[in-house]
Every structure is written in C-alpha cells, then in structure tokens.
C-alpha cells in the first residue's frame, strides 16, 4: 500500500489513554472466565461454549496481531501464517497426546504399529520442552525461510505466493500418516494438561486467562515496537526500501526480526488454541485459513494493532452466528466482506472511526 500509513491509534492516543483502554478491554475479558466458574443455574454463568468460543477468537486475534506486524508495518503480506500457528499447535498437541497416552505410545502410533517414538517426539512428555518447541518450531522455520527470502529480496506478491506454497507444502506433509503427526486426523481426545483435566472449568478458565495474558503482552510488545525507531524503520522499509538501504540500513535484518517475532507469536497462539478447541490437524495449514487471517487484518485496519484484533473478533463472531442462522449464505457474506473492505475501507474500520473522530 503506498498511501501514507495512518499513525497507529496507540501513537495518536498516547500511552495513558491506551493503557486506560487496555484496562477496560481487559476487565471485560477477565470477567468471562470468572463468570464461567459460577454454578450453572446462576443467571450470570458463562457457558463453557461461550468461553471456548471467545478463547478461540482471542487466539485468532493474536494471529491477526502478528500478521499486522509483518503486513501493516513491514509490508510483507504473509499467506502462510497458518503454518506457524499450526506448528505451535502441534508442539502443544504432542505434549497433550503424551499426557493422554501415559507411558504407552499415542494411539495413532501403536496403530501404525510403530514400536518406539520417532526422534522428534523425544522429550515431548515434558511441558517445558513442549513450550520450547512451541517457540522453536515456528521460529526456526521462519528464520530459515525468511533468511533466504529476504536475502534474495523477495517481496510483495512473490513473497505472498511463496509463503502460500510453504504452508501448502506443510499441509501435504502433515496429511501423510507416515510423517508421524496422526495424518489428517491430527491430534484429538486430550485429557489433561499439567495434571489438570482438560475439561475442568478451572482449566478452561486458566487457559482463557493465559490467552488474554498473551494477547495483552503481544499487544504491548507490538505497541512498543511500533513506537520505537525500529517501527519507523519498518515503515520506511515498506515505502522505499532502496532509499533505506542508501541510508545505510540493512533491510534484511529488520525484516527477519519482525518476521520471526510474528511467527513465534502465531506459534504461541496456536499452542493456546489447541487445548481450548481440543483438536489440531493439517486443515489449520490450508492456504484458505491464512488468507482469511489477512482479511481480519484488512477489515480492522492495517498497521493499527488494535484494528486486526477488532477484525478477528468481528469476522469470527459473524462466522459463528451466520453458520447457524443462514448456513448457505456464509460464504457470500465472507466474500462480500473481502471485496467491500478492500474497495471502500482501505484503512479498515479503525480508519473509518478515525475519520469520524477527526471530523
């Protein structure tokens, strides 16, 4: 996008207001899990369904945020973030499977009549190692891919298509039973995490809290980045990469840093997503999902950090409602949304609101 980037809401608003807003949002979110712990008969009780649904949406929101960092600021539209999300999820899933299967092999392996764990499963029974994988798997992949891509100055559309091919390849790979991740069934039927039953209301609430926490942290992180010189370099990079190079900045490092960071955030989101929805399978890597993530960001408003969260929330909220109310028309609506946003809301909802505010 070559039109001037609207300075992030955060920057405009100034730290104090942002923290205030953050506090407000936080309050709403923190209320939910507490209410979910109320007895079922109480009128304020929030059902497990609501909690997991909102939890899921929050995970998506983190993905949107991560995507915004690379797309909104560095101008790199990734159509492969689903891959990083899924990798994080799979890492967590490995741990949960080991929890569920105890000392034996996970069911699907005994079933392939494998006698011992493949090397990459070693240590996954330990939560801490699983957490390391959650960060490392997406991080390293992003590092390697990014290193090559940025070294050979792949950008714009090429970059998007390459990332799409990447996640597509990943999906095919994970669909294979022999890859050792349960084929297209993926991982399901989790039982406990850190010894707590996965279906316990308490566990749910805790996972939800964790998600909210991650969201807040990554929001803060993004906000700090956006305000730092680093953020400005990214913006410069997006608009005039050559100029930046002749100013003596090496774009590769900057791109790589934000790219890997974004991938890791996705991984973490995936890790929180899996125990809440109770399944991870290669479908998460399908190019479609990643493209949908892009529209969350576009709808909310690129380079605004808050916007993407909004976008993720609205689209997914809509999805849950539409697919019940008028199943047949969901795709029409989603498609129309893509078009309308790109045509009439180049700066997304936030842009719209700002315009209103400015008038």
């Amino acid at each position: 996008m070559n039109q001037p980037l609207m300075v992030t809401a955060a920057q405009k608003a100034g730290p104090r207001l942002t923290t205030l807003a953050g506090a407000l949002i936080l309050l709403v979110l923190l209320a939910l899990p507490l209410l979910s712990l109320l007895p079922a008969d109480s009128p304020f009780q929030v059902s497990a369904y609501t909690l997991t649904l909102v939890g899921k949406i929050l995970c998506y929101a983190i993905v949107a945020l991560a995507l915004d960092l690379v797309w909104g600021y560095a101008g790199l539209l990734s159509l492969g973030h689903g891959l990083f999300f899924a990798l994080g999820g799979y890492a967590m899933g490995m741990y949960l499977m080991r929890q569920a299967s105890g000392d034996e092999l996970p069911a699907f392996m005994t079933f392939l009549s494998w006698t011992e764990l493949p090397w990459y499963w070693v240590g996954t029974e330990h939560f801490w190692w699983a957490m390391c994988l959650v960060v490392l798997a997406p991080g390293l992949l992003a590092l390697v891919f990014g290193f090559f891509a940025f070294r050979s100055r792949i950008k714009g559309v090429y970059f998007s298509i390459m990332t799409q091919a990447l996640t597509f390849a990943g999906m095919l790979l994970f669909f294979r039973n022999e890859t050792g991740f349960g084929g297209n069934n993926g991982f399901t039927n989790f039982r406990s995490i850190l010894g707590f039953g996965i279906t316990e209301p308490g566990t749910r609430a805790a996972l939800f809290f964790a998600t909210v926490l991650l969201l807040v942290v990554s929001l803060f992180l993004g906000w700090r980045l956006a305000r730092s010189k680093f953020g400005r370099v990214l913006t410069a990079l997006r608009d005039a990469e050559n100029r930046l190079m002749f100013c003596g900045y090496d774009p590769r490092g900057f791109k790589l840093f934000v790219w890997v960071l974004s991938a890791v955030l996705c991984g973490l989101a995936g890790a929180l997503y899996v125990p809440q929805v109770g399944i991870i399978n290669p479908g998460e890597m399908s190019p479609t999902n990643s493209i949908e993530a892009a529209v969350w960001v576009a709808l909310g408003g690129r380079g605004t950090l808050i916007g993407p969260l909004l976008g993720a929330g609205v689209v997914n909220g809509m999805k849950s409602w539409f697919t019940v109310a008028f199943p047949e028309y969901w795709l029409f609506f989603l498609g129309a949304l893509f078009i309308v946003v790109t045509l009439y809301l180049p700066k997304g909802v936030i842009g719209l609101l700002k315009k209103r505010a400015d008038q």
Binding site: A13, N189, G313
Partner: protein, 421 residues
C-alpha cells in the same frame, strides 16, 4: 478512546449474541435434534445430501405423529468442513440448543473432533458413514460399515471364481487415515489368505490428486504379473480423474476390476459411467436393490428432492450413507418411544438390540453391545445408467468388528463401548 473499548465490548456481545440466536429458535412442545453436516467447504459435496435426507426422515416421523407425542424439530448447523468448528458446533448443539441427539459427521477427523465433546457432555451422536473402525464410544452409534462389513467381504469376492479369482492386489488410496487403516487390515487379511507381499502394491495420492497417468500405467505393469484387482479407497473428488484415466488407457474391468469403497450412486452422478461398466463397489445398500421398503424409500426421496427443488433433483439418487442416516434416525425414534424418554442413557439402553426393516431389504439390528449395526454386504457392478447391479451379497447381516482382529493388539480391546477418557 471510549469508543474503541465500546467496540471491543460490542465484538464480544456480538459473539455472545451469536449463541443467543439459537434460543430464539426454541419452540415449546418439540424435541430438538441436531444435524451436524458441512454445507460449505470441501465436504459439502458429500454431506449436503445427508442433511436433506435427515430432514426428510424427520418430516416422515413427524407425519406419523412424532416421538412420544412430540414433534421433532431439526436444528441445522454448518461446520463448514472445518474440523475444530465441528467440535464447537457440537458443543453448541448440546449446551445451547439442548438437542436430544445429533446426526452428523462424514470424515473420521470430524467425528474424532466432536467425540470428546459428546463424551464430556454425555451427548448422543449417530454416525452414518463407513469408516476404519478402531473406535467404540458409548456416546456414538455407528450406522455405517466397519471394515469387516465392507472391505474384507469385497476382497473375498475378488478372490472367488466369480470375482475373477484375483491373485495380485493394488491397494490404491488417498493418503489419510481411512485408506491407510483399511489397507493395513486388508494386507493382514491377504497374508492370512497366503498372498505374498510381492503381490500386494500399496499406493497413496495426496488429497485432490488429479493426475493418475503414472499410477494407472503402473497398475498396468503390475497386472502383467498375474490376475490383478485394484482395491480403491480413493477419496471423493479424485475418483473422476482416476476412472477417466483407467478408461482412456484401455484398462477394462474384465482385465483389471476396480472395487471402490467410497464410490456410490452420488459420486457416479459426476462420472460418465459407460466406460466403467463392470467395475465394482462394495456397500451395505444400493439404490437398485429390489424390495418394497426400498421402492418407497427411493420414491419418497425423489419426491422430497422435487418438492424442495434440491439441485439436480431430476436425477436424485439414494446411496449407502443416506440409507444409514435414514435407518439411524428411525432407530433412535423407536428407541426413544421404547424408553418413553429422550434421556441419553435411557435411549442408549433402549437402542441395544433395536431392529428396523431397512431399505437394503434386511431387518437390521443394532448390536447389543458394540454400538454398530449388523449389516449385509453387497457387491455392485457399475451399470451404464450410473446405478449398480448387485452381483454378490452375504447371506444375511454381518456383525461389525470395530476392533479388527487383523490389527495386532485389538484382541485385548473390550467388545463393548467404553469412554475413551
């Protein structure tokens, strides 16, 4: 700044309102039943017709006065071929809509995705599609075939004289769990029949694979080594290119018969069947079986399709999963009548040994313990008109073996349903 927080709040309320929606649907004196089939996405191709079949069956039951004097009210949701969404929608049906029972799922992964939810909330799911077995949950009733109700009889037929007494086998499938498992079972079975590994060729293709040139020519090469049959667990969309390639490379059913486990009348609608005459499919029901129940069943379906002008209504066909759906819903209704309640535990009890005169022409029985139907197995030959003519069938219904004896370790598994956690 306030505004932004408001928006955030709105987002939440929007998603909460989402659940709210369903309450408004609630009517007083009805029993709600959930229908959980993808109406969009890749699986819509197969699942949409099951949704319609379910609705038809429910109308039929209501026309007869419903269940325990109450009308059935269908709650249709669209999990959009998205597996996590299956779990979410399943939970919604059970907790928000408080449905008495859910009919749905096609792929194993979707079933596996909702399974924990149903076991957690003690829901009831009827699963109407043939699958790889290796599962037996107290909260699921499997009205489709287990491997021994489809795959193994099919191979026995191929090895029989009438089947062309095949000596070599190509196990061709899409690379996912159902084909892998089925082929694993078949390999073990073939071994037990004294077929050596060199006479078994196992080939897999990715989802949506559309170029079968190499594979077909390999089959040709392989078939030079002796009478060969192809056992295809190729998934939905890839079948058309596969069969077209077979026909065009001149591989006739008389030389190398292909028997498919996931090609039924519905799939044949999308294929020009003339070149395929003689190729086989193994199911527990074919539209072409001749008996009064089936004639009514088919007629009703055609009428229903016309009335609701479903796409392609003029050549609407019935197939095995549709029959399984039909049977499942009726059996549940009978059980609910018998239990005088729709309480899951009572109904589960009542379902054991429940019988129903099915369109397949047999009176099917729900097994007392293993939650699977006893089903007849039929081998059908593809006809020019896109129908199958039954060339072979078992004497009577076969009891399901969800835990296949051909998979090591299964002998220890109990023969009754136990929660997986």
């Amino acid at each position: 700044m306030k505004r932004r927080s408001l928006i955030k709040a709105f987002t939440l309320s929007a998603s909460i309102a989402a659940m709210g929606m369903s309450w408004t649907l609630q009517a007083a004196e009805t029993i709600k039943v959930g229908i959980l089939h993808s109406l969009s996405g890749t699986m819509a191709i197969s699942e949409t017709s099951l949704k319609d079949m379910a609705l038809m069956t429910i109308d039929e039951i209501n026309a007869k006065g419903g269940v325990n004097g109450k009308m059935l009210e269908a709650v249709v949701v669209d999990p959009a071929s998205n597996w996590p969404l299956f779990a979410e929608k399943g939970r919604q049906l059970l907790t928000q809509d408080k449905v008495a029972v859910v009919f749905g799922c096609w792929t194993s992964v979707s079933r596996k995705s909702v399974l924990p939810v149903f076991e957690e909330l003690n829901g009831l799911l009827f699963y109407p599609v043939q699958y790889e077995g290796e599962e037996m949950s107290p909260n699921v009733f499997y009205t489709g075939a287990a491997p021994n109700q489809q795959a193994i009889p099919a191979v026995e037929y191929l090895m029989s004289e009438d089947g062309g007494s095949a000596k070599r086998f190509v196990l061709l499938g899409t690379d996912y769990v159902y084909p892998r498992t089925t082929n694993k079972i078949l390999r073990a079975f073939l071994h037990s029949k004294g077929v050596a590994d060199k006479d078994i060729d196992e080939v897999y293709t990715p989802f949506g694979h559309s170029d079968y040139q190499t594979i077909v020519s390999n089959i040709k090469k392989f078939s030079a080594g002796g009478k060969t049959a192809v056992i295809s667990t190729v998934n939905g969309d890839s079948n058309v290119p596969f069969y077209k390639e077979l026909a065009n490379q001149g591989l006739k059913a008389t030389d190398v018969p292909v028997i498919a486990f996931s090609v039924g009348e519905e799939e044949l609608r999308g294929i020009d069947t003339k070149p395929l005459v003689g190729n086989l499919a193994a199911w527990n029901y074919f539209q072409s079986v001749e008996n009064p129940v089936n004639e009514k069943f088919v007629a009703d379906w055609k009428a229903y399709a016309k009335k609701h002008n479903l796409p392609g209504a003029d050549k609407a066909v019935t197939n095995d999963p549709m029959e399984a759906t039909y049977v499942g819903i009726h059996m549940w209704a009978q059980a609910a009548e018998k239990a005088k309640s729709t309480d899951v535990d009572k109904v589960r009890e009542a379902l054991a040994g429940q019988t129903f005169a099915a369109p397949s022409g047999y009176t099917l029985t729900m097994d007392k313990t293993n939650h699977h139907l006893h089903k007849p197995v039929m081998i059908g030959e593809i006809q020019p008109d896109g129908q199958f003519s039954v060339v072979w069938q078992t004497e009577g219904p076969v009891r399901a073996q969800p835990w296949s004896p051909y998979i090591p370790g299964n002998d220890k598994k109990p023969d009754y349903a136990v929660k997986s956690n």
